[in-house]
């Protein structure tokens, strides 16, 4: 008897039944929903931190936030956005979609799945509770460089360390589950090279997670022993090395950057073909490019450390390796554009977000290429130019792709269509606000504004004001997003099982909303079509409904 059934049978008290259902669920769809809800909640919390940061930076001088608290906001904004928003959102999408895309009844390890999720609310409660502790929350930036975080860290640093350990455990367990599911539970006939791109990118992401999360766990453990058990890994006065911290952190940190973008690549690769009514261009090269990016991500960590006094040879190596990443990344962008080329395009909200993703992520890629040039990086490093760069790859990258995925699959999850008009308003306001917020940061950075400062000199005032106005607008648009999602959950025009006429894949063969259990027997893959026939014949996948 499944936990779900157990919860159903124990419905003496509706509150107990509700709690038991969500606490004990092993159903991939419910766990996916839990991940997405947690991510959404934390998105608003970390977004509120960003609002605080931008309010303080609206004008020169200190208006609202004292320098010490400002550093805490900067730290928590980064940590929560990375570990609490982007990663759980992608894991939630993986939980919902991977079993349905490969024709599996559930994840391979359902109880483990429950455990990996329920670690997270505790991890983030611990992390966020540090705000209320004496001495305040962690204040050393999400990169927590030693010795600022070790010798000089506030007492709450230990809670931060424990929180990061928990997040790491959750991520590794989630990644194991995804790998096992993909390797063992694909429906007969679905070879690796027939998997949907979202599944491919997640498979690679899961390997990255397994390889680097233990490194993160290692570095925070070293911090812990430095702080309390007399070791001197990062303490120069004890024979340790503060730069060692950065090497270990960025050995985790750079693959982490790709962990936060590869599933987004997968999402774009699902959505763009659907609304272009054309197969994904260059499927094989997409797979190879993703694998190349993942492998290269392990040999470029040094580009975060060009100003630490790295020897010339090291700088050259990391510069060349980093520049090399532009090649597979370029292949992906060209392939997406080629997918659209001579298709039959429509621009529903998921497609708008996917195109916005490709265009704006490309801008982030460009500034990334510029940052790779070591000599010029001496001028860019740790300025707002870098802030602009990574927000361009993360906001329009990770966040836009997640939003595209939500609009794309929400009808499948809820059985209801979202409000297309509101969706389009959401996209356009978000797209304008993202650029208004982050584009001026290129200018302030180039003109010489360091990052993570609570106050700045007068020459940067105007662009900071623009950024802050953009950020306020960007925050407001996400309230609209919340409204759209809730409205869709509560009702709306009924969605067919196909939902989008151009969509391909097993998830569109099950009814909308997807029933609690799908693919209890493995589905049969549609025969390979020599060429696609969209536009010539009406889509009639509904006939394959279960």
């Amino acid at each position: 008897m499944s936990n779900y059934a157990a919860a159903q049978s124990s419905r003496r008290n509706p509150v107990v039944a509700f709690a038991a259902r969500w606490l004990l669920t092993t159903n991939h769809k419910e766990i996916g929903t839990l991940y997405l809800c947690l991510s959404f909640l934390l998105f608003f919390i970390a977004g509120a931190f960003a609002m605080g940061i931008r309010a303080e930076l609206f004008q020169p001088g200190i208006q609202f936030i004292e320098p010490e608290f400002y550093n805490q906001l900067v730290t928590l904004h980064g940590l929560v956005m990375v570990f609490g928003v982007v990663m759980p959102a992608f894991v939630g999408l993986a939980n919902w979609m991977i079993p349905m895309m490969v024709g599996a009844p559930d994840m391979a390890l359902p109880r483990l799945n429950n455990f990996s999720f329920w670690i997270l609310p505790f991890a983030f409660t611990i992390l966020l509770s540090s705000l209320f502790m004496e001495g305040g929350a962690p204040n050393f930036g999400w990169t927590f460089y030693a010795p600022l975080s070790t010798t000089f860290g506030p007492p709450s640093t230990d809670f931060f360390i424990f929180g990061v350990h928990l997040m790491g455990i959750s991520s590794v367990l989630g990644a194991i589950n995804i790998i096992v599911t993909i390797f063992n539970m694909r429906t007969p006939g679905m070879t690796l090279m027939k998997m949907p791109m979202f599944v491919w990118t997640w498979l690679i992401t899961a390997f990255l997670l397994i390889m680097v999360m233990p490194v993160l766990a290692g570095v925070v453990t070293m911090m812990l022993t430095d702080r309390h058990f007399g070791t001197s890994f990062f303490d120069a006065s004890g024979g340790g090395d503060p730069v060692l911290f950065q090497h270990i952190f960025w050995f985790f940190g750079h693959p982490e950057v790709y962990i936060m973008i590869l599933p987004g690549f997968g999402i774009a690769s699902q959505i763009i073909p659907t609304f272009s009514r054309k197969k994904l261009f260059g499927y094989n090269s997409m797979v190879y490019a993703t694998v190349s990016i993942a492998i290269l991500s392990f040999v470029v960590w040094g580009h975060h450390m060009f100003t630490t006094g790295m020897p010339l040879f090291g700088e050259l190596f990391f510069m060349y390796a980093t520049m090399l990443i532009a090649v597979p990344t370029g292949v992906k962008v060209f392939n997406w554009v080629a997918t659209m080329w001579r298709g039959s395009l429509t621009f529903e909200t998921p497609m708008l977000f996917a195109i916005g993703f490709v265009a704006l992520f490309t801008i982030g890629g460009f500034s990334g290429l510029m940052l790779a040039i070591v000599a010029a990086d001496f001028q860019y490093h740790d300025t707002f130019f870098v802030v602009a760069h990574f927000h361009y790859v993360l906001y329009p990258g990770a966040i836009f792709s997640t939003m595209a995925a939500v609009y794309y699959w929400l009808p499948k999850w809820t059985g209801n269509m979202y409000d297309e008009r509101l969706g389009k308003i959401h996209f356009w306001t978000a797209a304008i606000a993202v650029n208004l917020t982050f584009f001026p940061m290129h200018f302030t950075g180039l003109a010489g504004m360091p990052r993570r400062v609570v106050d700045y000199s007068l020459q940067f005032a105007e662009f900071n004001m623009l950024s802050s106005i953009g950020a306020g607008l960007l925050g407001l648009t996400q309230i609209l997003f919340l409204y759209i999602v809730i409205k869709t959950i509560r009702g709306g025009p009924k969605a067919s099982s196909q939902v989008w006429e151009g969509a391909e894949g097993l998830e569109w063969t099950v009814p909308s909303p997807a029933p609690h259990h799908t693919f209890e027997t493995p589905p049969t893959l549609p025969a390979d079509e020599p060429e696609n026939t969209y536009g010539q014949v009406p889509a009639t996948r509904d006939s394959q409904d279960f």
Binding site: G61, P147, V243, F281, G309, M323, G343
Partner: protein, 389 residues
């Protein structure tokens, strides 16, 4: 004596509307000009050969990105326009093209090689620290810089000079708000100056955009960088590595002088040092009264201690201890002296003995024991401080 910021016209605070208008001026103009419009939007050209070379590198990679961007976005917008369903109802059926895929792998790779060549040669030259004329040891600590002229044997601290009233919006902000220090680093023109950088506490980073020098100051490390400045002037920068609470408030000001003037400055500094040690001897041989020490002590407290312990002596709960009614400031004066002179290990409480004179230490300790309701009514003489060194 500060001359206006060189490397661009002195920037006054123009209205928001004016700046908005100028930021919307055509992109091409912005990208071509190095001095006028681009001053607030592009990388600074700076005043060294290296900074100009780096600007060229920056423009090269920027142009590569702009051209590739125009092509990619051009194709994208064309397909969005021309291949939308209303104009192009029947989609094509191709799904790969080996030739196109090989082309758009090889062409970017070639562009990268083309970019890597000047990037490599510039880097090799930057990393050549040999044959310097002058060495300055830069030691960072929370939140100030210490400059030591190795050859001349002089050294001093350089701290933010912007008043708190400007930061907290109680007074209008000056032209060089947050970018002014009490004592700038002084360098000669046309000499290869080698910087050695290290830190006493956390990692800081010394950056002067006009020199294109940015190097981390790391405890336990001595990093190297160099510059050769062509034009006299005052150049400003900031710490660029998050170093704790006052990271935003540790600016760098470098005054570059013609060689003869610089030599005179060095001689003056040596003379001043000699005078200071004479004054110090006189100060410690004098017996000071409470009335003399207290105002001096308050001034020093506000300048050096109030950031953490707060002007009201109440500190910041859980982070920086209160000095009002504290064990140290109201207890045995020897312990108090020891804490101020030698600091507390592994905290932001630094050793102040090397940073302040005997008289200053005596004054600030006396002040702490007799302010904010502390009423110990004892005082310490500079001679006692001197004997404890």
């Amino acid at each position: 004596m500060f001359k206006p910021l060189t490397g661009g016209p002195a920037r006054s605070v123009t209205s928001f509307a004016n700046r908005l208008k100028s930021s919307l001026t055509p992109l091409i103009l912005l990208l071509f000009s190095e001095n006028s419009l681009a001053a607030g939007m592009d990388m600074r050209a700076g005043v060294t050969d290296m900074s100009r070379r780096i600007l060229d590198l920056h423009h090269m990679s920027l142009w590569v990105c702009i051209i590739v961007g125009i092509i990619v976005f051009g194709v994208m917008f064309y397909t969005i326009f021309a291949h939308r369903r209303s104009r192009h109802p029947t989609p094509a059926t191709f799904s790969h093209s080996t030739r196109a895929e090989i082309l758009w792998t090889i062409i970017p790779a070639l562009i990268l090689v083309f970019m890597a060549i000047p990037a490599t040669t510039a880097l090799v030259d930057i990393e050549d620290n040999s044959k310097s004329d002058l060495t300055v040891l830069i030691t960072a600590s929370q939140w100030k810089w210490h400059y030591q002229y190795i050859e001349a044997g002089i050294g001093y601290y350089s701290r933010l000079a912007t008043p708190q009233d400007q930061i907290y919006n109680r007074a209008p902000k000056g032209e060089n708000y947050l970018l002014q220090v009490d004592k700038p680093l002084v360098l000669p023109t046309n000499k290869k100056v080698r910087f050695l950088m290290t830190s006493n506490d956390v990692i800081h980073s010394w950056w002067v955009p006009d020199f294109a020098v940015k190097q981390d100051a790391i405890p336990g490390y001595i990093n190297e960088a160099w510059t050769r400045v062509n034009e006299p002037g005052v150049y400003r920068g900031q710490c660029t590595e998050l170093c704790g609470m006052d990271h935003a408030f540790m600016p760098i000001v470098v005054e570059v002088q013609p060689e003869a003037e610089f030599d005179r400055w060095i001689a003056d500094q040596r003379l001043a040092m000699a005078l200071a040690s004479e004054t110090a001897v006189a100060d410690r041989n004098k017996t000071w009264t409470m009335a003399e020490l207290l105002p001096m002590g308050e001034e020093i407290f506000l300048q050096h201690c109030a950031t953490c312990h707060q002007p009201d002596g109440l500190g910041q709960k859980g982070k920086y201890p209160a000095l009002a009614a504290s064990e140290i400031t109201t207890g045995n004066i020897t312990n108090h002296l020891d804490r101020v002179m030698n600091g507390k290990a592994d905290t932001e409480m630094q050793a102040w003995a090397p940073q302040l004179t005997d008289l200053e230490l005596a004054a600030v300790i006396t002040y702490e024991r007799n302010a904010w309701g502390n009423n110990i009514a004892d005082l310490i003489q500079p001679m006692t401080v001197y004997q404890s060194r």
